[in-house]
Symmetry: C2
Subunit: 335 residues, 2 copies
């Protein structure tokens, strides 16, 4: 009953998150691993019996892997700039795909990818992995917000300082100028996804933001301070920085009957001055849950809505709108 | 050596704050109290030996009070819409004035008042009372921020729910449509003043905001979610609501070497992960300190810069810009 799959990519996240997540579910059977070089494929798969594919092995390239009839799905975790090409090839070969967020480097590329998918892949399904949609703390928080009546406001703040030399910092593709927003794009879509989850049906309709580069080693910009207007007329603030001395993350929503605050793994619901704290010490990164959900969707034959490329596009649209507003001195951008 | 003064106004703040503050400093001698009606003047001054003035007493009106040679200053705490007229009359009569913030209902009125003052009052001085500039927590916070290098970001959030029937809610003038922003104006200038204090020389240069009315009983708007761009290019978020279920206030600044957080009466300075908390349990509302500072400035004959009408105008300019941006769907407003 397990679906046979391949893991495409051997970066930090593939090694530390996808590989253990794939191995943790009996619904998936990892048959092969692909990386640009044989050495990196080998490093990823050390201690595991899988076939290794790479561009530097004759007859064992990505294209060769896609020809295998016994592999029906791929987990793609490659640099964002090259992902769309790998995704299209896999879908064209009839393989189900789950690829890491963000769906693409920008909305235009993502939209093109989605319309290509909808037109050209009648059978193979395309999912985007957004692990924040699988964190129990956000799911529970969203469920509690929904009980508290209309939303009055919200704030999302995520404060980090990415050190030069840090493990994610040293990823070459994040430093390319074609990759708009740098860490803000890569991390930001997570934070937008979590915020949207908490806000439920009350969709963001407009944003304004100021952006800046606080730390020279994090170009093009490392900080966004934004406001987000919701369909209902309520609004909130979003402040994200990868170059600040502020620390920690907080997602908070005020609704008519109370407030919900999510700090990674911990949800505080306050109603009539009474606080109820619920902790989710086991939620981890959410990757195990999302890979399991993907495996289940393959068994059922029905794509999981939370993994649809359209959902991922929505996160990217909001983040890109914030970046564009920042580039244009805070001019509001409709969503 | 005490300066003889009169207290103009008998509202909640005059009674609970100004009167005790005046009586607390030996530098001031309260000679008279004025209110619109004799009854309210009497109520304010119950138990104190002062002369009572009011519009319903022949020969004991505001104009009569201003004719007294033995009174050299007035503390004015009247509804914002009528204050400018009372201020001009007092200055024209040669009395030093300290009047409650906001300096006026809007920037245009405030600017006119200031230019009238600069042109027509060579001797009598005009001060605006902004008690937040006298809160030790903000003063200490500002001093600590200044030690921590360039500013990376900041956030100011003040969350309240003004109940119908609450003591300040039932002030008729706050409900008049001419009074832009309602509680947001009245309270907002405080929060802007405190934020500016913490930011020091790094002045705000642009703002964008979404505003809304969350609670029907608090028109025209009760909530602002804003971003504020600083001269240096860094930016921050400001969220203020008088109609939310969020609670509490936080002013936080991130600078190169650490962060400073001020929550009323408590300052947390974090440098290299080490938190240092300093509490100011005695700071109260700051009104005692500001009235004392005003009294000292009268003795010295030099106006106190922190009480200059230009400082108060700056607070109002920023708040009005946020309100205007909110009215215009978040279009940024230069400061």
């Amino acid at each position: 009953m397990a679906t046979s799959i391949a893991l495409i990519g051997s970066g930090i996240f593939a090694k530390e998150e996808h590989l253990p997540a794939i191995r943790a579910t009996p619904l998936l059977d990892l048959k092969a691993v692909y990386s640009r070089s044989h050495a990196s494929a080998q490093a990823l798969a050390s201690g595991i019996t899988v076939d290794l594919y790479s561009e530097d092995q004759e007859g064992r390239t990505y294209d060769d892997l896609l020809k295998r009839d016994d592999i029906s799905g791929v987990v793609i975790a490659l640099p964002i700039l090259v992902q769309p090409t790998f995704i299209k090839k896999a879908l064209a070969a009839g393989k189900h795909v789950i690829a890491e967020k963000p769906i693409a480097k920008d909305v235009a590329t993502a939209a093109e990818l989605i319309s290509w998918y909808r037109a050209n892949s009648p059978n193979a399904t395309f999912a985007i992995a957004e692990n924040f949609r699988y964190l129990e703390s956000f799911l529970y928080g969203a469920q509690e917000v929904a009980k508290l009546g209309r939303i009055l406001g919200f704030r999302t703040r995520v404060s980090n300082f990415v050190q030069p030399g840090g493990k994610y910092f040293e990823t070459a593709w994040r430093k390319k100028p074609e990759y708009q927003g740098g860490f803000l794009l890569d991390g930001g879509v997570h934070f937008v996804a979590a915020t949207r989850l908490l806000l439920g049906e009350n969709k963001p309709v407009k944003t304004s933001a100021f952006s800046t580069l606080l730390q020279e080693h994090l170009p093009p910009v490392d900080t966004l301070n934004a406001t987000l207007l919701l369909k209902s007329g309520a609004s909130g603030v979003v402040d994200i920085s990868f170059g600040t001395t502020f620390k920690g993350a907080e997602y908070a929503v005020a609704a008519e009957k109370g407030t919900v605050q999510v700090t990674r793994g911990k949800v505080t619901v306050t109603v009539d001055g009474k606080e109820e704290v619920t902790e989710f010490p086991e939620e981890g990164s959410g990757v195990k849950q999302e890979i399991k959900a993907w495996a289940e969707s393959l068994v059922k034959g029905t794509p999981n809505e939370a993994q649809s490329p359209e959902e991922a596009l929505r996160d990217l649209e909001i983040l890109e709108a914030m970046l564009k507003s920042g580039e244009n001195g805070g001019a509001p951008v409709a969503l």
